[in-house]
Amino acid sequence: MRDHATRNRATLESLFEEMGGRKSEIKGLLAYTLPSKRLVEVLYALKSAGYEMLSDIFGVDWLTYPGHPSSQSGGKRFTVAYNLYHLADAHRLFVRVELDEGERLPTATGLWRCANFMEREVFDMFGVEFDGHPDLRKLLTPEDLDGHPHRKDFPIGETPTLFNDGRYLDPASFRASIIGSDSGLTGWKGGARKGVRSDQELELVDQEVTGQPGGLAK
C-alpha cells in the first residue's frame, strides 16, 4: 500500500515537472503551481490516480500582499487553488493556477459535480470566469451588488455601496432611514452617547451625519 502510494506520487511528480509545474511545501501544505492551459488534463490525471475528492476551490487576491510580484509588473494577481484529497492514502494536495484580471479558466464541473458551487463562489468573490460552466451565476452576494467582495480593492466598512442599477447604499443615510424622525415605540431618536454617565448631559454626536433633528440632547 505504502509502496504503491509512493510510486503513484513519483509518477505524478514527473507529470508535474513535465508540465512546467512549480512545487512548494510550507508547513505540510503541498502545492503545485501549473499553467492554466493544462489544468483539466492534470485534474483528470489526479482523479484517475486516486485523488477522488475535490474538497474545495478558492481564490486568493495578492494585490496588497507585501513584496508579491503582482505589485510589480509581470506578476499575476490572482491564484485559484484546487484542494484535492486522496481517500486511500489520506493525502492532500493543492493544485494552483495563477491568472490575471480578465483571464479565464476551464471548468472542472465535467470531472466533479461539486465544482459547480465552488466555481460559482470564486466567480462571485473574485470575478474569475470559468469556460464551460453550466450555470455560472453569483452564489452568495445579491444579484445587483456590483463588484467582487473578496478582491483586496473592494471597499470595506462605512463606504457607499454601488449596486448595478445605479442605486447607492450610503451608510449614513441608511442609518438615518432606520432611526427616522419618528422613533416609534422605543423612544430612541438617534444619536450616540459619548462616554458620559446617564445623569450627565447627553451629547448628540452624529446629528450632522444623519441630518435628522431630534436625538437625546438636552
Partner: protein, 409 residues
C-alpha cells in the same frame, strides 16, 4: 436588496411552450421562509406529477461576509466569528480555526487544553446531532421526539454555559489554548450527563429510531451511491452513510484525537435512514471519546506559556514591566505569525471543516477561506431528490443536515 433571485435563470422552460398547452412540468418554489428548510433556503423544484424532475438550491440569503470580516480582525479576535457560521456545532468551527492559526504560529498547546477541547467538541457534536434528530423527525411529522432530544441538549448547553458563560457562540477556545480553565463543577456535570444519556438513547430508540412509521418513511428514500456521493463532494456522516469510511478524526488525526479509541460507523445503504442511523451511532462513539478524555484529564496549564501569543497572567502585571509591554502589544495589536499558509481539515458534525489561512506577517490574516461542509453537501440534493417524490424532499433536506449559517457564511 431584492429578494427575487430570478427564477428565469434556472435552465429549461418548465410549463410554457409557444402554441401548445404544456402541463408536464410544474415549477414549485419552496422557501426561503419555510420551516423544513432549516433556515433561509430557497429551492426551485420542477415537478413531473408527484416526482421531482429538477431541483436548484438558491442560497445567499444569510451571507454575512465572515471571511472578509476575519481578514480585518486580529488572529485572536477571529474566534468570535468562526463559531457563528455553524451555530449548532460552534466548537467544531472554533477548533478548526484555532488549529490552523496555531499551526501558523507553531503554538504548543498544553495537554489539558487539548483534552478539554476534545470533550467540548464531542459534547457539541452530540448536541448538534440531537437538534438534527429533533428537527429532522419533526419535518417528517412527528412532534414528540423534538421535546425528547431538546431535553438532553439543554443539559449539554448547561455544561457549555458553565465553562464559557454562554449557551451558543462560545468563543471559548483561544489560539494557544483556552480562555481559562474549566470550573470544578465541570467534571461531575459531564460525568452525570454520561451516566444519564445512554438511558435516554434507549428512549430515542423506542420513540423514533425503531419506530415503524419512521422506518417506512425513510428506508430506500433518497439513495446516494458511493460514486455520486464523492462526485458531489459529500463529507461527514452523510458520506459515511454512502459507504465511504472517511472521518478526519481517524484519517488525519488533529488536536489529540489519535489518543482515543473509537469506531467510525459506516453503511452501504446510502438512504435517508442510513444517514439518520450514522448520526445515531455516532452519539455512542462521541460518548466513548468524552469519557476517555475525562479519565485522562489531569491538572495543568491551559494556555501556551509563550508570551508572544498568550497574555501574561494578571499577577505579573503589577511587578513586571516586560509583562505590561507584552500585554499591551497583544491587546492593541495582536501577535504576528510568520509568512505562510496553512490548511487543517477537521471533522465537524456535518463534514469537513477547514480553515485556509494566509499570513503576510501582519497581525491580521491576509486571506481566510473556510471550507464549509453544509454548502457543498447541499449539492447532494440533486442526486438524492431527482426521480423521488416531492414529499420525500423534506426528508432529504433533513437528512443532509444543512445549517444555513454554514451554507451562506
Amino acid at each position: 436588496m431584492t429578494l427575487q433571485k430570478s427564477v428565469t435563470t434556472v435552465e429549461g422552460d418548465a410549463g410554457e411552450r409557444q402554441g401548445e398547452f404544456e402541463t408536464r412540468h410544474m415549477r414549485v418554489n419552496v422557501g426561503p421562509q419555510h420551516p423544513s428548510t432549516h433556515g433561509v433556503l430557497r429551492l426551485v423544484v420542477d415537478l413531473d406529477g408527484e416526482r421531482i424532475a429538477a431541483i436548484k438550491p438558491q442560497i445567499g440569503y444569510l451571507h454575512t461576509g465572515f471571511e472578509k470580516t476575519m481578514e480585518n480582525r486580529t488572529y485572536q479576535q477571529c474566534v468570535t466569528y468562526s463559531n457563528r457560521m455553524d451555530y449548532l456545532h460552534g466548537f467544531g468551527h472554533d477548533l478548526a480555526y484555532v488549529l490552523a492559526a496555531e499551526k501558523l504560529v507553531d503554538a504548543r498547546v498544553p495537554v489539558r487544553a487539548r483534552r478539554i477541547r476534545v470533550i467540548l467538541n464531542e459534547l457539541n457534536r452530540i448536541a448538534s446531532h440531537l437538534v438534527f434528530f429533533g428537527t429532522g423527525v419533526l419535518d417528517l411529522g412527528a412532534l414528540t421526539p423534538f421535546f425528547y432530544t431538546m431535553r438532553e441538549r439543554e443539559k449539554i448547553l448547561d455544561i457549555f454555559e458553565l465553562v464559557s458563560g454562554v449557551r451558543m457562540n462560545y468563543g471559548y477556545f483561544r489560539v494557544g489554548g483556552l480562555y481559562r480553565d474549566v470550573p470544578e463543577e465541570f467534571e461531575p456535570m459531564v460525568r452525570a450527563f454520561l451516566a444519564h444519556f445512554p438511558r435516554m438513547m434507549r428512549q430515542y430508540e423506542d420513540v423514533f429510531v425503531g419506530n415503524k412509521i419512521f422506518v417506512d418513511r425513510t428506508k430506500g428514500v433518497g439513495v446516494i451511491g458511493r460514486d455520486d456521493a464523492l462526485n458531489v463532494g459529500l463529507t461527514g456522516p452523510s458520506l459515511r452513510a454512502s459507504g465511504v469510511g472517511l472521518d478526519f478524526r481517524k484519517a488525519q488525526p488533529y488536536g489529540g484525537y489519535e489518543e482515543y479509541d473509537f469506531n467510525v460507523p459506516t453503511s452501504d445503504a446510502g438512504d435517508v435512514r442510513a444517514r439518520f442511523m450514522m448520526r445515531f451511532l455516532e452519539l455512542d462513539e462521541s460518548m466513548k471519546i468524552v469519557s476517555q478524555a475525562l479519565d485522562m484529564l489531569e491538572p495543568g496549564p491551559v494556555q501556551d506559556p509563550d508570551r508572544r501569543i498568550s497574555l501574561p497572567p494578571r499577577s505579573e502585571l503589577e511587578n513586571s514591566m516586560e509583562a505590561v509591554i507584552f500585554h499591551f502589544k497583544l491587546v492593541t495589536e495582536g501577535f504576528h505569525p510568520p509568512r505562510g499558509e496553512v490548511y487543517v481539515p477537521t471533522e465537524s458534525a456535518r463534514g469537513e471543516v477547514g480553515y485556509y489561512l494566509v499570513s503576510d506577517g501582519g497581525s491580521m490574516p491576509y486571506r481566510v477561506k473556510v471550507r464549509v461542509p453544509s454548502l457543498i453537501n447541499l449539492q447532494a440534493l440533486e442526486p438524492a431528490c431527482i426521480g423521488g417524490l416531492f414529499a420525500d424532499m423534506v426528508a432529504n433536506i433533513a437528512s443532509l443536515d444543512p445549517v444555513m449559517g454554514d451554507v451562506d457564511k
